[in-house]
């Protein structure tokens, strides 16, 4: 049994036998030709054939993945007709008296290089499109056949990389999954896999290609990106179980997707998801969450060897906002300290870190860190529906100080002519008993509250959540906690603010009814809990 790790592009599990992807990948040789006109004619003929093949692939894609994603093949046909591309090929044939294959390969390299050298990751992925159409042309020139493989049973296709046209050309009925050694998640191949609902893991690495052979048993986990080659019986049965659970969940998903979060008596609630990094967005969308209720920004600091720059932060925030296409995204400012430590912050060792120098306390002490993050956030606000949330609030004066910094940042951006969304909502975490108790004074200052039940529980009950010994004393449904939440909800609504819950308690379906009765407007949970929670909400009847 050997394990490999790549990037899962479509979450699903496949268990089956490997089939190595075969293609007519001929080395292109440079040969001298005397009859240049005949070479032109060969090229024209090949182009015609390639266009024909592409239009067949386009029709197939239209049926299997829909018009939006099929259009790439229409673009391929247009790329084949591109004046500069054609001129380059005919020029090389004419000036160097060489064969068309060589002229196409050279032109392909030049154009692919142009795309690959661009800064934009999306455009870099277009180099693959140029290579794809050029390989097709070369195949048409040499054999007049397109790649395509017949298989008698469902297999897991293993390849170095798959071109978009190769992906679509595969017979969907005979493919259990694809695994590629290279490739980017931005590529059309990855997008097509997602749309064909085929589990796929890309970028597994060269070692995998060396180890895999036709017919070898293989498990593909599109969720974790893990590939298990020749699994033992125990692993295989565990993965079979995971696959069954997954299929069950997917059927639940199909049933509940697109449905409202509404109780039998018509009370509505927003169900959002929590994420800890840009790559969590896929799961948010796949589980049909209405937005992101808690985007923890710590990962930017944890993954960086030094303070992340404004630009790095802006890029990450913008990406999430754009991917969410106008849905609410609440980003929480830096929340380190306590159990999350970062070397370059050089924080002193503390006797009692949970009650120590953390989160907003660091930000208000070191305004340069705070301002950098806020500038990045406000700049990103122009690209979607952003809410900014501040952690560990205990007093009115803290919130006033925060709002002053926000105003400064906005004024600077306005001065510099940088766009931002004036209506960006600001909110605070209710995670200290102090904040809940004075929530009537905090609510007028902000647009929303979000209850962090993990910290609120530990501070209210004076129970260290890292200490397993205290578990018997830790009643997460303690009346004191529920009363603090209820009090905060009442005060929020009295001052026109909304209130959500983003801690673990939000996913606890035994409390959903209690929360809805308190008037909680939003519940934010980790993505896999979104649909089970929707299910629970839809079965409630608050009129009884």
């Amino acid at each position: 049994m050997t394990k490999f790790k790549g990037k899962g592009v479509y979450g699903a599990i496949a268990i089956g036998n490997a089939a190595l992807f075969k293609r007519q990948d001929e080395q292109v040789r440079r040969t001298h030709v005397d009859d240049i006109e005949a070479e032109f004619a060969r090229f024209e003929e090949a182009k015609e054939l390639a266009t024909e093949q592409l239009s067949e692939i386009y029709e197939k894609a239209l049926k299997e993945v829909g018009e939006t994603h099929a259009q790439i093949f229409e673009v391929h046909m247009m790329m084949l007709e591109d004046d500069d591309y054609n001129e380059s090929i005919t020029n090389i044939i004419r000036t160097q008296s060489v064969n068309a294959e060589y002229a196409v390969a050279t032109t392909a390299d030049n154009f692919a290089d142009m795309f690959a050298s661009m800064e934009d990751a999306y455009m870099q992925a277009r180099a693959a499109d140029v290579k794809d159409i050029s390989n097709r042309l070369i195949n048409c020139l040499t054999k007049g056949e397109s790649a395509g493989q017949q298989m008698s049973q469902k297999m897991i296709i293993c390849a170095d990389d798959l071109a978009p046209s190769e992906t679509v050309s595969l017979d969907k009925e005979s493919v259990l999954a694809f695994v590629t050694a290279y490739g980017s998640s931005n590529s059309h191949t990855a997008i097509l896999a997602r749309n064909m609902n085929i589990p796929a893991v890309i970028g597994v690495g060269e070692d995998f290609l060396k180890a895999v052979e036709d017919g070898k048993r293989i498990i593909v986990d599109g969720y974790t990106g893990e590939i298990i080659l020749e699994p033992d019986a125990e692993t295989e049965s565990a993965m079979q179980k995971k696959q069954e659970d997954d299929l069950h969940k997917k059927s639940l998903l199909q049933e509940l997707k697109g449905k409202e979060n509404v109780t039998l008596d018509g009370t509505k609630v927003n169900i959002y998801a929590n994420i800890g990094g840009v790559d969590g967005v896929g799961a948010v969308l796949a589980n049909d969450a209405g937005g992101i209720g808690l985007f923890r920004s710590e990962f930017l600091y944890l993954e960086s060897p030094d303070y992340p720059t404004e630009e790095q932060q802006f890029t990450a925030y913008r990406k999430v906002l754009e991917s969410m296409m106008g849905k609410k995204v609440i980003i929480r400012t830096l929340d380190i300290g306590a159990d999350k430590q970062i070397d370059y912050f050089n924080l002193d060792k503390e006797e009692n870190p949970a009650l120590g120098f953390r989160a907003i306390r660091i930000c208000l002490t070191r305004p340069e860190i705070f301002k950098t993050q806020l500038r990045a956030l406000y700049r990103a606000s122009a690209f979607g529906n952003l809410g900014i949330m501040f952690p560990m609030i205990t007093s009115v004066s803290e919130v006033e100080k925060i709002l002053t910094v926000c105003e400064e940042v906005k004024a600077e951006l306005k001065e510099a002519g940088v766009p931002y969304d004036e209506n960006t909502e600001v909110g605070i975490m209710i995670e200290t008993p102090a904040a809940a108790v004075i929530s009537d004074r905090l609510a007028p200052l902000v647009n929303f509250f979000s209850v962090g039940t993990n910290d609120l529980t530990q501070y209210t009950l004076a129970i260290d959540r890292q200490n397993a010994k205290l578990e018997p004393f830790c009643d997460t449904h303690h009346e004191a906690i529920l009363r603090l939440i209820e009090m905060s909800a009442k005060n929020a609504h009295a001052h026109g603010a909304w209130i959500g819950i983003c801690g673990e308690l939000a996913a606890d379906t035994t409390l959903t009814e209690a929360f809805l009765r308190m008037g909680i407007d939003e519940l934010s949970v980790s993505a896999p809990f979104v649909l089970p929670l929707r299910d629970a909400v839809r079965k409630l009847d608050l009129s009884k």
Binding site: Q71, I72, E74, V75, M78, M79, E81, D82, D83, D84, Y85, F111, M114, F115, M118, E119, D120, Y122, M123, R126, D129, V130, E322, F383
Partner: protein, 85 residues
């Protein structure tokens, strides 16, 4: 000659698909449609060059349309940009 400017709203900019559609649309007119950004210009029927401009969200591009059907072409291109980009 007709000219107009447009600022890209689409998140990924003028990427493969819309570039293809734009080139296709421009080919239906006899007028020459040129797109200019930061001093670099390209005939929009030249798909690869158009993609190679790397036009991103927030970039402002200037169009020049010149030819017999420039009136109709300019309108069609402008409508296309508004709708798709």
């Amino acid at each position: 000659m007709k000219t107009f400017s447009y600022t890209i709203q689409d998140a990924v900019g003028i990427h493969a698909r819309p570039a293809g559609l734009l080139a296709k649309l421009a080919k239906t007119f006899t007028s020459t449609v040129t797109l200019e950004k930061d001093g670099k210009s390209v005939n929009v029927t030249k798909l690869m060059m158009l993609m190679g401009m790397g036009i991103k969200c927030g970039d402002t591009v200037n169009f020049t349309v010149e030819g017999e059907d420039e009136e109709a072409a300019a309108k069609a291109i402008e409508d296309f940009m508004k709708e798709n980009l």
